[in-house]
C-alpha cells in the first residue's frame, strides 16, 4: 500500500509494507462491517409513527452474544496482528545481521553529519570521510549505523527505507539497513528539534559498488576526508555540548 506512494529502497521496506497491508485488510474489513451495522440500525430503527422502541436490557446471555462474538473476533485478530507486528519489529530493530559496512550518523541543530568508514572499512581512522547532509551507501550491503545527537533529541528517518530511530544526546544507538534500490532519497529529522526543524533535511545516495567508489574518491579529493588529526567520536559528539552549556542554561 505504501509502495504506491513511495519506493521500497531497503530489505525491510517490503516487510513493513506487508504488515501495514495485513493490518489494513483486517481493520478495514471490520471497520466497514461496524459502520454498515451502525448506519443500518440508524436507518432500520428510525422513529416511525405508532412503532415503539423495544425493551431490551442486554443482560441476558442470548442478547449479550451479539456483542460477545464480535468481542471474541477482536481478540483473535488482535493476536494475529501482535504476532505479525512483533515478527517485523524483531527483524528491523532487534536482530542485527552481521555488518558489511559501518557508518556513524551525528545529528545536531540543524544538520546531519555522516562519518563514512573510508577504504579501510573502520571508523575513527585517518581515512574516514565526513559529509554533511549527504550520506553515501552501496547497494546490497548490510550497513550498521551508530546514531548520536549533539544537542537535543532528533530522529533519523528515511521513509524510502521505512526506517526511523530517535537520536538521543548521551547515547549511541545502533541499528542497521540494507539498501536495495539505486537512487537518491530524503532523510528527515522526525522529532521536533527547535527552530530549524523544518530545514533539517538530508539525502541518502545509493549506488553500485563502482559508483560508490567514484563518490568516495571524489570526496577525498575535495577534502571532505578527515584532517591530519583523526577526528574522534569524543570530539565529534562533545564539541557541541560545551557550546550548548556555555551558551547558558537559562
Amino acid at each position: 500500500m505504501i509502495s504506491w506512494l513511495l519506493p521500497q529502497a531497503s530489505t525491510f521496506a517490503s516487510t513493513i509494507d506487508g504488515l501495514v497491508l495485513l493490518i489494513a485488510v483486517i481493520v478495514g474489513f471490520w471497520l466497514i462491517v461496524a459502520e454498515v451495522v451502525l448506519f443500518g440500525f440508524i436507518f432500520k430503527f428510525r422513529a416511525r409513527d405508532g412503532i415503539r422502541g423495544q425493551y431490551v436490557s442486554g443482560e441476558d446471555k442470548s442478547q449479550k452474544q451479539w456483542v460477545s462474538y464480535p468481542h471474541y473476533a477482536v481478540v483473535v485478530f488482535d493476536i494475529i496482528i501482535i504476532a505479525a507486528a512483533l515478527r517485523v519489529w524483531n527483524e528491523v530493530k532487534v536482530e542485527v545481521p552481521p555488518a558489511d559496512e559501518q557508518i556513524r550518523i551525528i545529528a545536531q541543530q540543524w544538520s546531519w553529519t555522516f562519518v563514512h568508514a573510508g577504504p579501510d572499512g573502520k571508523l575513527d581512522t585517518r581515512d574516514d570521510i565526513r559529509t554533511v547532509d549527504d550520506m553515501y551507501v552501496q547497494r546490497d550491503r548490510v550497513y550498521t549505523f551508530e546514531l548520536h545527537a549533539r544537542d537535543v533529541v532528533h530522529s533519523f528517518s528515511v521513509p524510502a527505507f521505512r526506517l526511523k530511530q530517535d537520536a538521543v544526546p548521551g547515547r549511541a544507538i545502533r541499528g542497521w539497513f540494507k539498501p536495495t534500490l539505486e537512487g537518491t532519497f530524503d532523510i528527515q529529522c522526525a522529532e521536533m528539534c527547535g527552530m530549524g526543524h523544518g530545514l533539517m533535511a538530508g539525502r541518502v545516495h545509493i549506488g553500485s559498488a563502482a559508483q560508490y567508489a567514484a563518490w568516495m574518491t571524489n570526496l577525498t579529493k575535495i577534502g571532505a576526508a578527515g584532517t591530519a588529526m583523526a577526528p574522534t567520536l569524543m570530539a565529534d559528539v562533545a564539541a557541541h555540548d560545551h557550546a550548548g552549556t556555555a551558551g547558558g542554561t537559562r
Binding site: L6, I16, V20, I23, V27, A34, E35, F39, F41, I42, F45, R46, A47, R48, R52, G53, Q54, Y55, V56, S57, G58, E59, Q63, W66, V67, H71, V74, V75, D78, I82, A84, A85, V88, W89, V92, V94, V152, V153, S155, P159, R162, K164, D166, V168, P169, G170, D186, Q188, C189, A190, E191, M192, G194, M195, G198, A201, T245, G247, T249, R250
Partner: protein, 581 residues
C-alpha cells in the same frame, strides 16, 4: 440510585439514601443553601466571581474552554495556511516564520487538550451534571471547587501571556521533550518555555482540585508533576535532570510525560462516552444495552491505560525488546474499548431513533471514533509504527480520536443540556446546518492527512521545500485540500456560536424536561436554582427505562413513584441491582 417501589421493605433503603445525601451537603454557613433560600439575592461578585454553585463553576469552565478553543482554532488556521501556501502572508497574521510555525503547533496542541477538552468535559459537564444526575444539591467541597476554577483561569492567563514575552512563545511541541525544552540555548525561547511549563503545571493543580475522574487522573498526573518540577528546575535553576552531559537522561521525561499522557486520553474519552450514552438512550428511546458490560469495560480500560505509555517511544531509544510488551498491552486495550462501541451500536437495535441535533452528534461520535480507533492499531503495533511514528498519519489518527472526544461529544452534550443550562432551546435547523457542515468538512480535512502521512510527510514541518520526495505537486494539492476543508470547518463554527448566543437570550422557552428523559437533572427546573431541587428527589429505578412494555409513556423518570418493572411483565426486566447510593 436505582431503588424501586417505596414499600415497607425498602423504606430503610430510602432512608439510607437521604442519610448519605446529607453527607454531600456542606454544613458551612457560607456555602450551605437550602432550596428555599430565595430571600437573599447575591450580588455580582458573589454570584459569579465567588460563587460556590457547581453549575456556575461548570458553566465558567465550559465558556472559558470554548473561548480558548477559538485561540486554538486560530493557531490551526495560521499554521495550516502556511503548510498549504508556504511563504504567503496569512490574513490576520502575516508571514509565518519557522519559529512562529513551531509555537503555533505547540500552542494548538497544548490549548486544545489542556485548555479545551479538559475544562469542557471534566470541569464543565462534570461539574454541572454529576451533582444533578445524582440528585445532590452541590459538590462535596464547593469552595475547593471554586478555587480550582480560579487556578485554572490563572493558568490560562499565564499561557496567553507567554505569547507576548521576549523570544516568543514556546515552540518545542506539546510533548516538550528535553533537552530542547530544558535549555533556552536550544529552544531560543527563554521566557516562553518557562511560562508554558508554569501554565501547564497550574492547570494540573486546578484539575487535581476538582476531584473528578480522581483515581485515573491523579494516578497518572502525579509522576508528571514530579517531571515538570525537574524540568522547571532545569530551565530556571540550571540543574541537569534531563541533561546527559551532567548525568541526567532526556528519556526520563518521555516516560513521565507519556505515563500521564496516555491515561489522559482515556480520562477524556470516558466522560465523552458517558455524554454520548446519555444522549443516545434518550433519542433512541431505548434502554442502554448491557449496562454492566460498559461499566466493567470502562474500568478495564482505565486500568490497562496505565500500561501502554511506551508505545509513544518505540523508536525513542528504549530497549527494543521492551516494545513487545507495550505493543501487547496497546492491542489489549482495544478489546474493552471495542466492546464499549459494540454495546453502543447494539443499543440502537430495536430503538425508535429521532435524529435531533444532539443525537446526530452522538451517532457521529461513534462513526468517527471507530476510524480513530482502528487507525490506532497501525501505531500500536510496533512493526508498522517504525514507519508511521511522527508522520501525519499519527496527526490524522489523533484528530479522529480527539476531535470526537472534545468537539463531537462536546457539541452533543452542549446541544442536549442547553435547555437545562439556560432554560431555552437551541435552534434545531441551525444546529443541523452546523452539524453537517462541521462533520463533512472535518472528514475532508483529515482523510488527506492520512494519505500524506502514509506517503512520508513528517510532522511540524513549516515548509516541505527541503524534502524532494515530499515537495511534489500531488502532495501539495492534498495539503491544500486539507487546509480548505479546515477553513470550511472553522466557518461553520460561526453558525454554532451565533445559534448558542441567540438561543441563550431568544430561544424558545424550555420546560424542565424537553426531551422526555429519565435522569434526575430533568426533574430540576431549567435552569436549576442554587440548590438544584425544590425537594430532594427519591430514586425509584435505573436511569434507562425507556419503552417499558405496558406503560403508556415511553419513558419513566427515575424519581416517579410507580410499580416494579418486573411486575409490568417486561421481558428481561429483572429488578436492577441496587447500585450506588
Amino acid at each position: 440510585m436505582s431503588d424501586h417501589a417505596p414499600d415497607a421493605t425498602h423504606a430503610s433503603g430510602v432512608a439510607k439514601t437521604y442519610a448519605r445525601r446529607r453527607w454531600y451537603r456542606s454544613r458551612d454557613a457560607v456555602t450551605s443553601h437550602t432550596p428555599d433560600a430565595t430571600t437573599h439575592v447575591p450580588g455580582f461578585v458573589k454570584k459569579y466571581l465567588w460563587s460556590t454553585d457547581h453549575k456556575t463553576i461548570g458553566l465558567q469552565y465550559m465558556l472559558t474552554g470554548m473561548a480558548m478553543a477559538l485561540i486554538g482554532a486560530f493557531a490551526a488556521y495560521v499554521f495550516r495556511m502556511q503548510a498549504a501556501f508556504p511563504g504567503a502572508s496569512v490574513p490576520l497574521f502575516g508571514r509565518v516564520a519557522a519559529a512562529d510555525y513551531n509555537y503555533l503547533v505547540t500552542m494548538h496542541g497544548t490549548i486544545m487538550i489542556f485548555w479545551v477538552a479538559m475544562p469542557v468535559l471534566l470541569g464543565g459537564f462534570g461539574n454541572y451534571l454529576i451533582p444533578l444526575m445524582l440528585g445532590c444539591d452541590d459538590m462535596v467541597f464547593p469552595r475547593v471547587n471554586r478555587l480550582s476554577y480560579q487556578v485554572f483561569f490563572l493558568s490560562s492567563v499565564v499561557l496567553l501571556a507567554s505569547f507576548f514575552v521576549p523570544g516568543g512563545a514556546f515552540g518545542g511541541a506539546w510533548t516538550a521533550y528535553p533537552p530542547l525544552s530544558a535549555n533556552s540555548a536550544y529552544s531560543m525561547t527563554p521566557f516562553g518555555s518557562t511560562l508554558w511549563l508554569l501554565a501547564v503545571a497550574l492547570e494540573f493543580v486546578a484539575f487535581l482540585l476538582i476531584v473528578i475522574a480522581a483515581v485515573l487522573f491523579m494516578g497518572s498526573v502525579g509522576p508528571l508533576v514530579a517531571g515538570a518540577v525537574m524540568l522547571l528546575l532545569d530551565q530556571v535553576v540550571g540543574t541537569g535532570f534531563y541533561d546527559p552531559a551532567r548525568g541526567g537522561d532526556p528519556v526520563l521525561w518521555q516516560h513521565l510525560f507519556w505515563f500521564f499522557g496516555h491515561p489522559e486520553v482515556y480520562v477524556l474519552l470516558l466522560p465523552a462516552m458517558g455524554v454520548v450514552a446519555e444522549v443516545m438512550v434518550v433519542f433512541a428511546r431505548k434502554k442502554l444495552f448491557a449496562y454492566r458490560t460498559i461499566v466493567y469495560s470502562a474500568v478495564a480500560t482505565g486500568i490497562i491505560s496505565f500500561f501502554v505509555w511506551a508505545h509513544h517511544q518505540f523508536v525513542a531509544g528504549i530497549d527494543p525488546r521492551m516494545a513487545s510488551l507495550f505493543s501487547l498491552t496497546t492491542l489489549i486495550i482495544s478489546i474493552p474499548v471495542a466492546e464499549m462501541f459494540f454495546v453502543y451500536i447494539a443499543t440502537l437495535y430495536g430503538g425508535s431513533i429521532r435524529l435531533t441535533t444532539p443525537m446526530l452528534w452522538a451517532l457521529a461520535f461513534v462513526a468517527e471514533f471507530l476510524i480513530g480507533g482502528v487507525t490506532g492499531i497501525f501505531l500500536g503495533s510496533a512493526g508498522s509504527d517504525i514507519y508511521f511514528h511522527d508522520t501525519y498519519f499519527v496527526v490524522a489518527h489523533f484528530h479522529y480520536t480527539f476531535f470526537p472526544i472534545a468537539f463531537i461529544a462536546g457539541f452533543a452534550g452542549i446541544t442536549f443540556w442547553f435547555p437545562k443550562m439556560f432554560g431555552r432551546m437551541m435552534n434545531e435547523t441551525w444546529g443541523k446546518v452546523h452539524f453537517w457542515g462541521t462533520i463533512i468538512a472535518f472528514n475532508i480535512c483529515f482523510i488527506p492527512l492520512f494519505i500524506t502521512g502514509t506517503a512520508g510527510d513528517h510532522r511540524r514541518i513549516f515548509d516541505y521545500a527541503m524534502f524532494a520526495q515530499l515537495a511534489t505537486p500531488e502532495m501539495q494539492s492534498l495539503r491544500i485540500l486539507a487546509t480548505r476543508a479546515l477553513l470550511v470547518t472553522l466557518a461553520f463554527q460561526v453558525v454554532f456560536i451565533a445559534n448558542f448566543v441567540y438561543s441563550m437570550f431568544r430561544g424558545a422557552i424550555a420546560d424542565a424536561n424537553p426531551w422526555k428523559a429519565n435522569t434526575l437533572e430533568w426533574l430540576a427546573p431549567s435552569p436549576p436554582p442554587h440548590g438544584n431541587f425544590a425537594t430532594m428527589p427519591v430514586v425509584y429505578r435505573g436511569p434507562y427505562e425507556y419503552c417499558v412494555p405496558n406503560r403508556a409513556e415511553d419513558y419513566w423518570p427515575q424519581h416517579e413513584p410507580g410499580g416494579d418493572i418486573a411486575e409490568l411483565g417486561a421481558p428481561g426486566g429483572r429488578r436492577p441491582v441496587q447500585q450506588g447510593i
